[in-house]
Symmetry: C2
Subunit: 759 residues, 2 copies
């Protein structure tokens, strides 16, 4: 855990330069716009410890799988987020001395991420080895108004000298992935051009043949006047630049505006990429930095107006929640149906593929509540389009007749992961697709989604479950053997309660969806049945049989559900009784020791109670929470939010607040000592849920909004906004009262603390 | 399965050359002498599909671990059997045409492994593209009389031409391991020399710094006369040769004798290696091929006199058992306490490290019965010497106070394997060390082994079990969670019956050993207690408690022990009901499907009943055999032998014979389609047990020999020899009678079919 950032309501502020924290800051200060983004690497060269990272949504590389021991069924490739050509560098060389914060004396270093504007700023003074001193102010952003555009304003002022500076303005496509399995480079060259004032580099990924064309133009300004300079043009394989010689005068600031355009073959014909890229940078540089920034900031202003959460009386909490919302919003905008929410967004390349069940289980409620319903629908359609691959994936593992098994990690629908206990066994994820539909329909009432897309997916998933359960003659029940539940600190267990529950629920839900489609659009139902070779009578009979006879492990004495068969054979120890030096367990204990311990990585039984809280009595939730919570180590970032929500429901306010701090400042305070690899983007939606669903007690039941809010003692008030059925509601919770204001849209009745309230 | 070899009592015979079978034959026809060995690669160049392999016992390389997902506790290195400098090549070039069976027309190809002599022969005629035709006869062996020596006799006769031949006689140390994790080469050069008539190459392994110095000399003979030729000497990095130009005359045979010496820094000072190697090849070539072969054959004659098994009336079975014995004897001779029995011996490099629990569980009875007791003792001492590493290994996984956890795969005592479900969880192996002591003491009566070495190991292992069990408040018993039993088609299960049984037995056995040492050598016991910081009262009390309260899963209705908790939740299907195209499961099914199926890779509950057959009634064995046998797929080579032995005991003669065929000709008939990687050396000891302990019903109880023999219907008679307490017994079983003859040693009483018989 690190606490080196300043608290501020709207800004993330780092003061003073500590090279040891550089990778962490590079993650935290990352920028993105849903289409592209990059870590907060310095513009000028830096020879110290850094992880250079530029990422473009949807541009990936299928790296050859590396395993110790191959298991049948493993995918041959792991499609990875790809480190992409970088456009942010501005090299400064003065009398053969490179401006390099690892080699200069650095003072007054200040890095600020302004979340309201979506602007990254950095300022410092640097003293070169020979005593020359410069002051630097840099700003940059990736435009939310135009996903293909980015801009930098970089000012340098000589404080105690006048001299010639050589300024390198380049594009580098000769980049590597940190996690390349066989130290391969993933890019091939296509085209480089460097002319006075502009540079273009086009590169293509190996195997996947994505082309990315990156262009830059730049302007230099001194005393408010545009100036020129002597320009040298350079190209080499996958790299091009302009080197500009400019005379610096003591006390006078030189400002460099670098405009970038990044176009990909995902959105343009390959043949036209270079031409279009050229046009784009021309256009962009003509608009100019201030105007581009204004357009960008306007998008952010609108976004914040829809999704901001305010917290009064606790700046750290306020900063935390805004940071979470900011990162979510710059990771995924819902504009492109081919994209999804990568676990690291644009902040790093760890965990490869872009899509996990995190999207459905954690992120969807956030986008449902803060964005137009089309955004959430987009996320659902994304999975619909992957249905054929999910069926293929199931086939590889021996399933048949159209059973759909969604991958654990994916880019294009194909499974990427290769750890048998996850890839093959963490099967609950395939029902997350069904749960997301439940959420979507529940919020939006748009049941026609079943007709258009949903039922087809649901039948595929149900067919998977029908084949995946087996009849236990011993138990006289259906059982599900050999699974890994959400708690990945158990592998290959039998009858994980969460999984069994979700499987049976999926079959029931599919039946409901089927009834809806059948009754509302008989001809569509008929044609779908034909397409899927669906035998309604036989198949639904089997569903019902499984639903009726599913086995659920429980301990009747304690009145709890059992996470899996045999859980009570473990030594039941509390986390609080563990020596501090044993934690985090995943860094201190061998894997087998973790597996046979009672310790829970992330909510599992409790996760299910959170997802289906209306299915359980408060007393049931309490007994299970009291049993499992003390054994939960929350070594997954996806865990604390669930505990916030259930603890809130149970009135465990202290526990809820403790868990809230853990989720909301996970990256800002580098809680798990891994922020240097990137931020935990998907869990940030969990933080949002902690406030809205936890403290705010927000829920949607059959199209109706419910709130049962309370306020953590440490806060004076908090407020959040909810998009719901075309309305925007603002909920403000203070110690003494709760206000719910209909900010826009038609009148509506909500339930507040159990009572109907008309707005 | 392939059946391309001719049946013969003493020989393995391949007739006709099929390049597709070449890798399989290279494995089957491998040669070794306990110290070095090699696959049956051709002497002349071969550009077709081949796996070139030369191996030297004890010379290994710690290859950097490669995994997909690192788990805490994994070893950083995997110590591998090392492909070593090769001395067998003889290149033949005639008028710029290389003799290469991939490029010539090959006729009359015949390869013979004479197991009585330990001699590999090969003959063929080859027609070059230009029509020149030669006849070749080659013989080679690795001397059992001198482990550092090998020799080749290679004759070539031009059938339809006279011309100059260039003969390349070299040593190549620039070899690679097929399974190098990162495509690294493992050898560094040390020294090369090539002078007229001899060549020496010395190379050193990276990281481990083993030096291997290989030298050759040669003689050429024509018409019984030694001849010379024009000699060119060549060296390059890690390679040296002589190229000799000889005039060939149509119809006249040229014979090349190539003598090799292989000396390693394990047995000689590095500084003296080259000198000693030179002296050795001088000496060897002076002795000459026929004399070297005679000495070698004499050793084999002696060996066969001790361990041969004859089978009358079934040549395939006779050939099979001799092949198994032959391979075992050329893999391990018991001369060097640092060596052990690698799973592939000198026939391939798969499976890396040299020592598995196979040695203790399968091989020990063979060496105990066919060799001097010192050989088996050597194998025990090998593990004693690894005790500190076993303690270190346990420590890495969180155990303390001198708990000893023996590695799953090792070279020098350190764990090499990196698959969590095996490395960390297949823990029963550590008790195999205790079982081996039981076997040894049982056969030899040498209880002082406990005092000298054994008790220290037993206390270490017992301390491991004490920490590895945990108390289940739910069951009110000790349980063992998260293990993999011998049946590796189940991972991370609870209360594997085999493991629980072995753990409790180990504690009882340690107590017995302790009593013996305490009573027989009180002062040694005292000093040992001090050394180990052993708290007798407290520790033995805990042992007793665990023994008394160990949980054993069983199904009382069926009267069977359960392989593990929850086994009866599976669908219980018979192997005979599986579609043929689904097998072998490990090639056809994804791993999760295998895991949740009932199918058993190798005997597990039955393995335990085999090890402790006196602990169970015949009825118990029958019920468990009848339950588990139909679900066993025997996809481990170690499985069928156990079934032969139990089936024999139960009078299931057909089943016993079916299983016997499977084990005895596993490699000869390439049953599992994997012989190309090397032979299954350790399971060959299981084949021996199948005859002696299965059909012969041999057993040792408290120092007394028992036989309850029967004869498979397909055989006329069979016989085997047993070394026992300084005697050699020959047991001959025919349809009508069994003869037990005391071939040497003092009179002795044995039990034959339940009756005492004095010999």
């Amino acid at each position: 855990m690190k606490q080196y950032l300043k608290n501020h309501e709207w800004q993330i502020v780092e003061e003073g330069f500590d090279p040891h924290l550089n990778r962490v800051s590079e993650s935290i200060f990352s920028l993105g716009n849903g289409q592209m983004g990059q870590r907060a690497n310095f513009e000028e060269n830096y020879s110290g410890d850094t992880h250079q990272g530029t990422y473009i949504a949807g541009v990936y590389y299928p790296d050859k799988t590396r395993v110790g021991w191959w298991k049948n069924g493993y995918p041959e490739y792991f499609a990875k987020v790809l480190n992409a050509p970088s456009w942010t560098s501005i090299g400064i060389n003065i009398e053969n001395q490179e401006l390099d914060l690892a080699k200069c004396k650095v003072e007054n270093f200040r890095r600020v991420l302004d979340m309201r504007l979506g602007l990254l700023s950095r300022s410092f003074t640097a003293t070169f080895p020979d005593g020359k001193k410069v002051e630097v102010n840099a700003q940059r952003f990736c435009s939310m108004a135009d996903g293909e555009v980015g801009a930098i304003k970089y000012s340098i002022k000589p404080l105690n000298f006048s001299s010639t500076a050589k300024i390198t303005l380049g594009i580098d496509a000769d980049v590597v992935n940190k996690d390349s399995n066989y130290d391969e480079k993933f890019w091939d060259r296509v085209y480089e051009e460097s002319q006075m004032g502009w540079v273009i580099v086009s590169a293509q990924t190996k195997k996947t043949f994505f082309q990315v064309c990156t262009g830059i133009e730049y302007d230099l300004e001194m005393n408010g006047q545009r100036i020129g300079g002597k320009v040298f043009t350079n190209i080499r394989d996958k790299y091009a630049d302009n080197i500009v010689e400019v005379e610096l005068t003591e006390g006078t600031e030189l400002t460099i505006y670098k405009y970038a355009a990044v176009l990909t073959s995902e959105n343009h014909d390959k043949e036209e990429l270079v031409k279009k890229c050229h046009a784009k940078i021309d256009e962009t540089s003509k608009i100019g930095f201030q105007q581009l920034l204004a357009k960008h900031a306007a998008v952010w202003a609108h976004t914040w107006s829809e999704c901001d959460i305010t917290i009064e009386g606790d700046i750290a909490a306020q900063q935390g929640i805004r940071f979470n919302i900011f990162q979510l919003m710059q990771t995924y905008t819902g504009k492109d149906e081919r994209l999804n929410i990568g676990p690291k967004g644009f902040t790093g390349e760890k965990y490869g593929g872009s899509t996990y069940w995190d999207t459905e289980a954690y992120c969807l409620p956030f986008y449902l509540s803060t964005s137009d319903p089309s955004v959430a629908r987009q996320l659902l359609v994304y999975r619909y389009k992957h249905l054929p691959k999910a069926i293929e994936n199931a086939k590889k593992l021996g399933f048949k007749d159209g059973a759909a098994f969604y991958p654990f990690v994916t880019m294009n629908g194909e499974e990427c992961h290769n750890e048998w206990e996850i890839t093959f066994e963490e099967i609950h994820r395939t029902s997350a697709m069904a749960y997301a539909m439940r959420d979507y329909v529940n919020y939006t009432g748009d049941k026609d989604y079943f007709t258009e897309f949903g039922l087809e997916v649901l039948i595929g998933i149900s067919r998977f479950w029908v084949q995946r359960v087996n009849w236990s003659a011993d138990k006289n029940k259906y059982v599900i053997l050999g699974v890994t539940g959400p708690n990945e600190y158990e592998n290959n267990v039998n009858n994980n309660w969460y999984t069994n529950y979700l499987a049976a629920w999926t079959l029931r839900f599919t039946q409901e969806a089927l009834e809806y489609v059948k009754n509302s659009d008989g001809s569509k139902y008929k044609s779908l049945s034909g397409k899927l070779n669906f035998h309604e009578e036989e198949e639904t009979k089997k569903w019902k049989d499984i639903v009726d006879k599913m086995y659920y492990a429980e301990d009747k004495t304690r009145g709890i559900f059992l996470q899996q068969d045999g859980f009570l054979d473990k030594e039941l120890i509390k986390v609080s009784d563990l020596p501090a030096e044993d934690r985090p367990l995943n860094q201190k204990w061998s894997w087998d020791r973790i597996l046979r311990s009672c310790f829970i990585k992330q909510a599992d039984v409790l996760q299910c109670m959170f997802l289906f809280e209306d299915d359980f009595t408060l007393d049931q939730i309490k007994r299970n929470f009291d049993f499992y919570e003390p054994m939960t180590v929350h070594e997954s970032s996806l865990s604390p939010c669930v505990h916030v929500i259930l603890a809130s429901k149970l009135g465990y306010k202290e526990k809820a607040y403790e868990m809230y701090l853990r989720t909301s400042r996970l990256d800002l305070d580098d809680y798990n000592n891994d922020t240097e690899d990137g931020c935990h983007i998907t869990s940030m939606a969990g933080t949002w849920m902690s406030v809205v669903k936890g403290f705010g007690g927000m829920n949607v039941r059959e199209g109706k909004l419910f709130f049962t809010p309370y306020i953590p003692e440490q806060w004076k008030s908090y407020s959040f906004r909810i998009e719901f059925n075309g309305r925007v509601l603002k909920v403000k919770v203070a110690k003494e009262k709760t206000e719910v204001i209909l900010e826009s849209g038609e009148p509506l009745e909500i339930m507040l603390n159990g009572k109907g309230v008309k707005l």
